[in-house]
Point group: C2
Chain length 199, copies 2
């Protein structure tokens, strides 16, 4: 971006590295930030650094936490016999929002993606196997995304877990709630038909 | 947002106050930030604070600057006889990008908006009048936005400047470059017709 004074350009440059922030948004945000009160900018800046410093990974499930173990693992009422495997910490938040799961989680911190050089050794796969081997785990629910990487990861984990004498399941695929048949893609429709439930 | 740990919620809360950042983007950005390297978060935070500290308003035209006067006012080649009046510092950047203006600017820092309690005393209006009174100004181009507030501000300034024996103009309204007649609103079309130029 030409014609911006240096400190403003620096803000613009930092902001447009963030996901979902294009050049135009970055410029708009940069102008907004230099127009904010200094104390507000300071509070924003300190909040970011504090979060990065205070947030660790749960020792058991690798969810984000500001303590040693996360709030789900710390909750005595959760069923430790069921582990729901997800890709990212934000997927735990999404699952919890649905209020329909009572077990615990395991966060892989990514999915297999050979093109990006992400193999099993870059994910918390070893740790999942160890948990299943040593714990009293009855079921592992594979809840990775429904895209190529997620499906591959689920298939890979299923293979790895098979010898461990544990029930393995995959979250259902089908039409999303409120979804129109007219606008659904063919693969989703095929899955929805294949996994139909009896009424 | 329920179920977020405190430091993460703080980031989310700070981010969604920014313009154009909705709840979903704020959450996505917050997760991205706690996933960044600590040094990168620190650099981001420091850049914001540094920009706020280092950026001042130009003493002459109230554009943003990291010195005493802005780069336009400091440029000896610019024509000081023409002042282009804009609402915000980002409007100066937009104008400069067009590379079609050789004069200097005056940034009002807002437009008249009685509903939001913004009157002439909240804008750099007094300072504009003083510049026109004391300087060798030949023309004032009113280049505020083409919305209700911008039009009102332009009309108000025109009235105020009339006695000062200076040429007053307003930027043209019409069809934007590449614009389709089919999709243009009625007011724009009416203006485009009214301000037609002879070929």
């Amino acid at each position: 971006m030409t014609g911006l004074i240096k400190p403003l350009h620096n803000v613009y440059d930092q902001l447009r590295r963030l996901p979902g922030v294009g050049n135009k948004s970055a410029l708009r945000l940069a102008y907004h930030i230099v127009d904010m009160k200094e104390e507000d900018v300071r509070r924003l800046a300190e909040t970011l650094v504090a979060a990065k410093q205070d947030i660790r990974l749960c020792k058991t499930c690798f969810n984000l936490t500001d303590g040693d173990i996360c709030s789900v693992c710390a909750d005595e009422k959760r069923d430790r016999g069921t582990i729901c495997v997800v890709g990212q910490p934000q997927d735990v938040t999404a699952m919890e929002r649905s209020r329909s799961y009572q077990g615990v989680y395991h966060v892989l911190h990514g999915c297999l993606s050979p093109l990006d050089g992400v193999g099993p050794e870059n994910l918390k796969v070893k740790e999942l196997i160890r948990r299943v081997e040593t714990g009293k785990v009855e079921e592992v629910i594979l809840a990775t995304n429904s895209d190529v990487e997620g499906e591959t990861t689920a298939a890979y984990l299923a293979q790895l877990l098979r010898p461990l004498n544990v029930r393995i399941s995959r979250i259902a695929q089908g039409l999303p709630m409120g979804g129109d048949l007219e606008y659904a893609d063919e693969v989703t429709l095929a899955k929805a038909l294949e996994n139909r439930t009896e009424l």
